[in-house]
Symmetry: C2
Subunit: 292 residues, 2 copies
Amino acid sequence: MVNERLDCEHHLNMAIQAATTPPCPPQLARALDYAVFPGGARVRPKLCLAAAMANGDGDPRLGMAAAIAIEMLHCASLVHDDLPCFDDATARRGKPSVHSAFGERIAVLTGDTLIVSALQQLAVCGFHTKDPKRLATVSQIITAGVGAPQGICAGQAWECEPSIDTATYHQCKTGALFVAATCAGAAAAGQDHLPWAMLGSAIGQAYQVADDIQDCVGVSAQMGKPSGRDAVLGRPNAVHELGLEGAIKLLNQLLNEGIASIPDCTGKALLVSLVEKQSERFFPTGFARCAA
Amino acid sequence: MVNERLDCEHHLNMAIQAATTPPCPPQLARALDYAVFPGGARVRPKLCLAAAMANGDGDPRLGMAAAIAIEMLHCASLVHDDLPCFDDATARRGKPSVHSAFGERIAVLTGDTLIVSALQQLAVCGFHTKDPKRLATVSQIITAGVGAPQGICAGQAWECEPSIDTATYHQCKTGALFVAATCAGAAAAGQDHLPWAMLGSAIGQAYQVADDIQDCVGVSAQMGKPSGRDAVLGRPNAVHELGLEGAIKLLNQLLNEGIASIPDCTGKALLVSLVEKQSERFFPTGFARCAA
């Protein structure tokens, strides 16, 4: 029941169908579907929906629109990050990356279209809402997490600068959309979103550390993308800095901090169990979660 | 007075400043500004504002947000169209294209950021609106003009298909945002937008024909971009199909059809004069506008 309410596949599918209906050019239509399905863990939209549910889910339509917008924006960022001019990644989610399968031009347009469609999902909530300020707050949270000066685009753009502050870089590139997920979920349910930023930030940092660990110890087939890329691309990696044990310790600490930060709310126990469940996959074989 | 009310530079500037404020990465900040300023003729936002004014301009804040969103989306499309994988254009608006000046990675991110910021301009109108349905209508019109299945992204994606229907291609790639401009302007003023689609469509087609003419007879310095590209890239061009005289005749016909389609409204005479004024630059030296 709870898992069903955290499942956004149907709504994602409807959003992609709306964009890919004729007269959409056939290759763009296929690439849009390919970029979103089958998905990864859908951790961001689940976190958004869980935050909305924990706060009573006062506007389920808006909560779901926020969740799928966040996932579509995440998918857009993956497609553009994989482009030859960035990571030049040939594989993603266990299959060829979008530009490998459809060419660079369609990949650029797939990312662009996903951004537009994502924000369209939110905008059309205005046809039904009785609370336009709430919708505006949710939209503002999500666009801030994606654009500039400190969303995903800004984070990615730090890769083009001669020197990078690693914390700022990760906070923008990875953390911003996790913060948007918890904050948008709470805001969609009518709650003050600011106290929810810490949970998103901590999970975002934990996710980044988990990604660093997987990049070092992961098997490509499990990750759906090549491992060892950080060393090749000269990127900061928590395992290189702290060792594997140190990185696992940091991962546990971040998850504990995130869970401790969850504001009092009607569905707090359920949300904690969801965060614990989702974070199981952050740990490599042989290492277990160590709660506070 | 009227010209001042059609001027969106100040509001565009505020939108770009909001995106480029610290901690925005410096190169992305410079590229965002570079992609939007100095502008071209700003014909789309002027058309949007003129349509809003012709209908009484009942919500000037929404009309202006629509206008600058449309211009920012247009600028985003230029940056991505110029990329090496598409037109590989080295110059735009009389200076190096964004990827020539800042590199391909920053160009991709500049386009992405402009799309997000543009739609953010609309979303934040929800904090002030008393009519969320009107805002949703304007947002829906604009996102439809940009995304898929038949906005700019779809139009550009037709270039990747083995066969193209030229009319559909131009309608999506160029026409859709002009239709969005007139329809969004009318909708922002609280009017039914559907009767305003024809004006946008006709001006969009006229603009395309004017572009074709300039590609054939233009001097690069005047256009701000290289001429003769259609022949090089094997693209359809009205002058190749109809000859120069035929293309000029078609241009006049489209403008006459567009003007004839303008619904009755309080500011109709003013709007007609604005369309005539804006279209003067569509005609090459030695050819004059010939009204119906």
